[in-house]
Symmetry: C2
Subunit: 453 residues, 2 copies
């Protein structure tokens, strides 16, 4: 037994390894032992990069790994144990039970503990879901498997089930790989985190890219032949598929924390405060497994995203290391790209704003990404929601072509700062013809909304 | 004589015509006469587009004209008189004296008056400055003249005098037109609104683009031959030039307002309040001729830029039309591009922060515009200044390649909202591999600065 304080991290991806690195930065190996368990083979990889690995936009899986286990061991003195799953946590005895690659179990004591157990993909009990050729795309191992399957089995048609971010990115990947692509989604429009009017723009663009879009059609079964997927069935039709990717979203992986007796919030994520403390002393959580404070709705939300995981892990690590840090909450900002179309959102959409009890107005406006006369000026449609009485911004959505999407950051900063539509319309943003019309698209939209309110 | 109230606008470009249009929107032709004098031929054109007209990125001068005089007359019932210069204003009698194209003078009464007289280019009394082949690039007529000269005289080498935004954009234009380009600038680095360390990045990039950069060399004379420019002389050398463009900045064109007895501020711009009212009742001013409140230094500044002109004109027009609007001030945000290099800034640079009496820290950090593994990830260097005690952001600068520059908007929004470096580091910005590393470059820089403070 070692007398040094010991930090155990459960989960070796963005949140867990950010916590480990940051704790190490503040407390050297002579002050703190750090042990990290990862049930997979990889640490600290970019899960968001998986579609680009499949598309071969990114050449190898190693490119997605920010730091491998060996680097953590060597440069950060973090004892990373891959292929090892934590199967039990005893908060009273302050121990975890870990099951190694060979099935052997060991018990390890901790002083501080970080849950960074990530998310589990939604996987409905559809007939045929376990057939060959059906993939999730959550882990790097998944991504490698999909890519190998495309390389080796040479599928000619793909069905993507689920029209959210990952679904769209996988659709793009298959288009790039030359497959015929169909998208099957239960909702009326793709990108359910956008309002349907903005989602419709995405659907139209997808169709223009040659993706066959089936909206309002939940998948009901996967047809198989000799254990291999052959089609995706909905109530309206059957779509041939040599490969199927499930992109139905994820939920917080909080089972272990729940079993240990930690408080789980209403969204199913581990409840944490702004310092990433759970309900138990010296036990922290970060990343996709927690729920976060939404700055506009002021409610807890679970949003699986690498940026939050990194920031939250860092906050936990700083506090564990004796520093002081707080996580400021989230706005639900997200951005994606599918074959040149850029899609972004921040804050609340209409349904979310209604659910949060806001009375609001919206404005949707099409403008251009550059001065209209400048070559490459492309359409960008911006939608803004603002509260009726206070005129404060509640949310925004952007759908447009090259250079459209990152404008969401201006809106995110404005939302973060509690600005009104007039504040946004008045901001001193960068203007030159290659970058923007003289009134930036987000500001024209804000101005129009202000005029009406 | 007409009994209807009458608005006279002096200057038919962005600020003046925004004021006219907005006043018209609020008060119809039966309620308000609007008369606008423009001494040139064009109204409401994009002066910022001139370099692209010269480069032939934009095909014709008409493309830069948002609305021509005829459109204003027909659709907005604004009596636009081009080729007509206002030569005197009598505030007591509430009249202006205008000199028409034929030299004839008329006197016109007003109830409300808007000064939108723009800026005058700095034009030092250098020997040879009036030679053929020497151009300013302030008005659309200037742009047309430069383009014609390149088309017809086929100059092979150009010297751009002045390394600010317009100088760089003209250097780019000449590179695109196939000329050999030299840039001559008095300061040690180009882009004087950046700090020298960031300006040095621009200089290096310019050199890489084949532009011969002569810094620390004020032009002392223009050599001529038969009335035509042949070279630009500095204390260090003489540089052959078939064409010379002067990009030495501008100052507010406030002579007419001064002569009329209006209060002129310390920067030489017309003093206005947030509603764009001058020191005289019913007399307004907007655009390059005024001085604006700088939100960080809290001092008046004169910044000639189309965005401010548009917003200020609109504010004046709203107030004249019986509405209520205020201009929120400026941050000095600016963005430009030279052969793929993007340069942007907002708030105060080091010299400005010192002059404003701030104690501050800075951080400069190189990152990438996309996830490092994503194709097209390019270098972006971000510099951030923050006040020492409050940790509030004071300013930021960006120099980088494709997709670098517009990130200045995030910083501008953060500055506008009075955020600290920690606020900025915590923002929920859009992340996906094609758009950003998992920590956006502006946030990594903010985080590093926060760690040090």
């Amino acid at each position: 037994m070692n007398a040094r304080p010991r930090l155990i991290v459960i989960g070796g991806d963005a949140a867990g390894m950010s916590a480990a690195s940051q704790a190490r930065r503040l407390r050297g190996p002579e002050e703190l032992d750090i042990l990290a368990f990862e049930r997979g083979r990889h640490t600290s990889y970019s899960a968001c990069g998986i579609p680009y690995l499949v598309a071969k936009t990114v050449s190898s899986a190693e490119d997605l790994v920010a730091r491998d286990p060996e680097t953590f061991r060597r440069d950060h003195a973090v004892d990373v144990r891959t292929g090892t799953e934590v199967v039990g946590v005893d908060l009273d005895r302050r121990t975890v039970t870990a099951r190694g690659p060979g099935g052997e179990e060991t018990e390890e004591r901790f002083d501080d503990l970080v849950f960074a157990t990530g998310a589990v993909p939604v996987r409905p009990p559809l007939p045929g879901i376990d057939a060959r050729g059906v993939f999730g795309v959550q882990t790097l191992a998944d991504g490698i498997a999909v890519r190998s399957y495309v390389d080796e089995e040479r599928p000619s048609c793909a069905v993507v089930v689920g029209g959210g971010y990952i679904g769209l990115e996988m659709a793009e990947a298959f288009v790039e790989r030359g497959l015929r692509v169909r998208l099957v989604e239960a909702a009326a429009e793709p990108m359910g985190t956008l309002d349907p009017d903005m989602g419709a723009l995405v659907r139209t663009a997808l169709t223009g890219m040659g993706v066959e879009v089936h909206m309002g059609e939940p998948a009901t079964a996967l047809r198989t032949e000799g254990g291999r997927v052959r089609a995706v069935a909905t109530e309206k039709g059957e779509y041939p598929a040599d490969i199927v990717v499930l992109g139905l979203g994820v939920r917080p992986n909080s089972a272990l924390a729940r079993a240990a007796g930690l408080e789980i919030g209403p969204t199913g994520g581990i409840a944490v405060d702004a310092r990433m403390r759970t309900s138990a002393e010296g036990v922290w959580a970060a990343g996709d497994c927690v729920e976060s404070f939404h700055r506009i709705s002021r409610r807890p939300v679970s949003i699986a995203l690498g940026t939050h995981a990194n920031k939250q892990g860092r906050v936990a690590g700083t506090n564990i290391g004796g520093g002081y840090a707080r996580f400021g909450g989230v706005l639900g900002t997200a951005i994606s790209k599918v074959c040149g179309l850029e899609v972004a959102r921040t804050g609340l959409n209409e349904a979310e704003a209604r659910a949060a009890g806001f009375a609001f107005e919206t404005e949707t406006l099409a403008s251009t990404t550059r001065a209209g006369y400048y070559p490459g000026a492309a359409t960008v449609t911006t939608k803004i929601l603002a509260e009726r009485r206070t005129r404060r911004l509640l949310g925004a959505q952007i759908v447009g072509w090259e250079n459209a999407g990152k404008r969401i950051d201006t809106l995110a900063a404005a939302l973060w700062g509690g600005m009104t539509v007039e504040d946004l319309a008045g901001l001193d943003l960068g203007y030159a013809p290659p970058f923007s019309p003289v009134w930036d698209p987000v500001q024209i939209t804000a101005r129009k909304l202000a005029e009406r309110m």
